[in-house]
Every structure is written in structure tokens, then in C-alpha cells.
Symmetry: C2
Subunit: 199 residues, 2 copies
């Protein structure tokens, strides 16, 4: 189920894999160090050789998963000509990644934000870069005349990020299926065309 493809000493890989596996069905708080060590087939002490604390393990697993997520996004938008096309691709690819990788979604949307240490982690730096990519495309779209020049690009960025996340929330929390294409289509239709009925 969980092929990490992570590099490093075998013990570290086993720890990250065991932890990911547990995170697929349980919340972070309820997973114990003893349980992670047991599932990984190592001792508790080894976990603290590679991770400063339990949260650092969470952040490193997120970092690893988000790297793949980010790479997927960039591959998706590379082919698109228009900024609108790029934004559509980002919405679709983001929803698709979260739907496919529940561990990533659970960690990013439900777990990490509660503690300040996350915002000093390398994982957060990656998330910031992803958000920045969206903002850059919006600003490019405004300059090129694809998007209205009078909108606030930061607000549009937040609407897109918020819509993506909130669309996944229920599915991630209650472990339901999601029609990614329909959801992505619905979001871009509303955000690009608006919902007001034109008399």
C-alpha cells in the first residue's frame, strides 16, 4: 500500500512507512511512539535518532509526500498555454492528489496547522511555494488580459486554495469517495464565470 521510495538508512524508511500506514486510518494524537516502533520493527530510541520529536516525524512524512504532489502539479501546468488553463489544471491536480493520497491530505488539512513548529518546517516552505505558484499565475493572467484587472489577486488565491481544501475536507474526514472531475469543474466554472444571474 505504502511505497515510500524514500532514501536513507533502512530503519528511517521503516519508521516513516509504518507511521504513514497508521496515519491512513488514525489521527496523529492517537498514534503512539511505541506503536510506530512496533510496526516498523525497531525500538523507540531509534525514532529519536532520526526525528527530533513526534511532530518532526509528521513534518518529514508530509515533506516527502508534498514533494511528489508538487512535482505532479508542475508537470500538469507545464503543457498549458493560458493562465486560465493552468489554474484549471492546478485545481484538478490538487483535488486529484488529495483524493489519491489520503495520508497527505489528512496531515496537511487536519493535523499540522495546530502547532507553530510546522510553520518553521521544510514542509511548510514547500506549501508556501505551491501557494506562490498560484499567485504568480493569477498575476500573469491579469497582465495578459485573461483575468479582470480590477480583482485582488491575493483574494482569488485564497478563494482557490480555500475551495480546494474545503472540497476535500468532508471526504478526508469521513473517508468518502469524491468525483474529482465534477468538483474541479464546478469550482472553476463558478470562480471564472461567477454565480450571479445576468438579467
Amino acid at each position: 500500500m505504502n511505497i515510500s521510495a524514500g532514501s536513507g538508512p533502512p530503519g528511517k524508511i521503516k519508521i516513516m512507512d509504518a507511521f504513514s500506514c497508521l496515519m491512513a486510518t488514525r489521527d496523529f494524537q492517537s498514534i503512539t511512539i511505541a506503536e510506530i516502533a512496533g510496526n516498523a520493527g525497531v525500538t523507540e530510541g531509534l525514532i529519536y535518532k532520526y526525528f527530533t520529536d513526534k511532530k518532526d516525524l509528521l513534518h518529514q512524512v508530509l515533506h516527502q509526500n508534498f514533494a511528489a504532489f508538487q512535482a505532479g502539479i508542475e508537470a500538469n501546468i507545464a503543457g498549458k498555454e493560458t493562465c486560465i488553463g493552468k489554474l484549471e489544471a492546478i485545481v484538478f491536480a490538487s483535488l486529484d492528489s488529495y483524493a489519491r493520497n489520503r495520508v497527505l491530505a489528512r496531515i496537511l488539512l487536519l493535523e499540522v496547522r495546530s502547532s507553530l513548529s510546522y510553520f518553521e518546517s521544510g514542509a511548510y516552505a514547500m506549501v508556501k511555494k505551491y501557494a506562490r505558484t498560484i499567485l504568480d499565475i493569477i498575476q500573469e493572467g491579469m497582465e495578459k488580459g485573461e483575468l479582470r484587472p480590477d480583482i485582488d489577486p491575493f483574494v482569488l488565491q485564497k478563494i482557490l486554495l480555500g475551495a480546494i481544501e474545503h472540497t476535500c475536507l468532508k471526504q478526508v474526514i469521513f473517508d468518502k469517495k469524491m468525483d474529482v472531475a465534477a468538483a474541479a469543474g464546478g469550482i472553476v466554472d463558478i470562480v471564472f464565470n461567477g454565480v450571479k444571474q445576468h438579467g
Copy 2:
């Protein structure tokens, strides 16, 4: 700073107030039961007389704060004639409440979602009702011809909720000020009118 106006035995009120006060600057995990008891001027044991566990305390404090939030929202939309006006009022009132009540925002947006017990709490029932109110207004707006009849009302609901939450996120996490009117105006402009430039 924190006037709870909560009813019940004085010890319970002191506990909830002390906890709220701590939550204003710290994350849930880092706050200990001993600290809450100390700040409240009661013993640790008393906390377990009124709350089944630490999370129940979190949920009850959220419930209390959300009740005021919900009442404010309903007062705000009561005066509005159109559905668009009601939705605008909800976006503004929601952002305003989160900006004014950081404890509510921190609990709701950062803390509770990680554990499943929240979704069985009374606090979550209130949040569901709030989300349902937004959906009802959207469907009414579609029937009355104020909103496009071909949109997915659930998608619009999620865009609005996601936009509201993501707009507050940075401000809440890094404790920054926010221009509520500008943010609310930006969101409703984009969602109602769309961002695509019409040639």
C-alpha cells in the same frame, strides 16, 4: 479580556475562562491540565467533574463561542431582502467574528478537526447548522432567479466556506490584523461576478 457570560457553577466558569485565555496565545496540545487548573484557581480533579476529558473542554468552549457567532450571523441576515444580500452579510459577519474572536477562530480552524470526537460533539452540530443555512440561501437564490440555475449549490457552499476560512487562516496563525470589509468585498465580487475578462 475574556468575559464568558457562561452559566453554571463558578468553578466551571473559571475553568473555561482560564482555558480560553490560554488558547488565545497557545496551541491546545501545549496547554496542560495543571496549567488550566492553576490559572483557574481550582484543582485538576475539578476539571474532570465538568468535562469528560481535555478535548471535551475544548468542544464546550467552542460550543459557547459558536453560539454567539451563530446568533450574530442570524441577526445580520434577518434584515436583508435578497439572497445575494444575505450571502454577502454571512461572508462579512463570518470574517468579522473570526477577526474579533481569535479563540473561536483558532479552535474551529486549527484544533478540533484532527480528532473524530469533535464530529460527535454538540459544537459540530452547530457548525453543520451554520453550513446548512448558507446552502438553503443559495438554493433559494437559485429558485428566485438571483443566482444562475445551472451551478452546483454544494460547490458554491464549499467555495464560500473555504474562502472565508482560508482568508482568516494566515491572520489567525500569525496573529495579524485583517481588513474585514476589504476581504469580504473581494470575496463576494469574485464569487458573484467571476474573474474571467469578457472580451
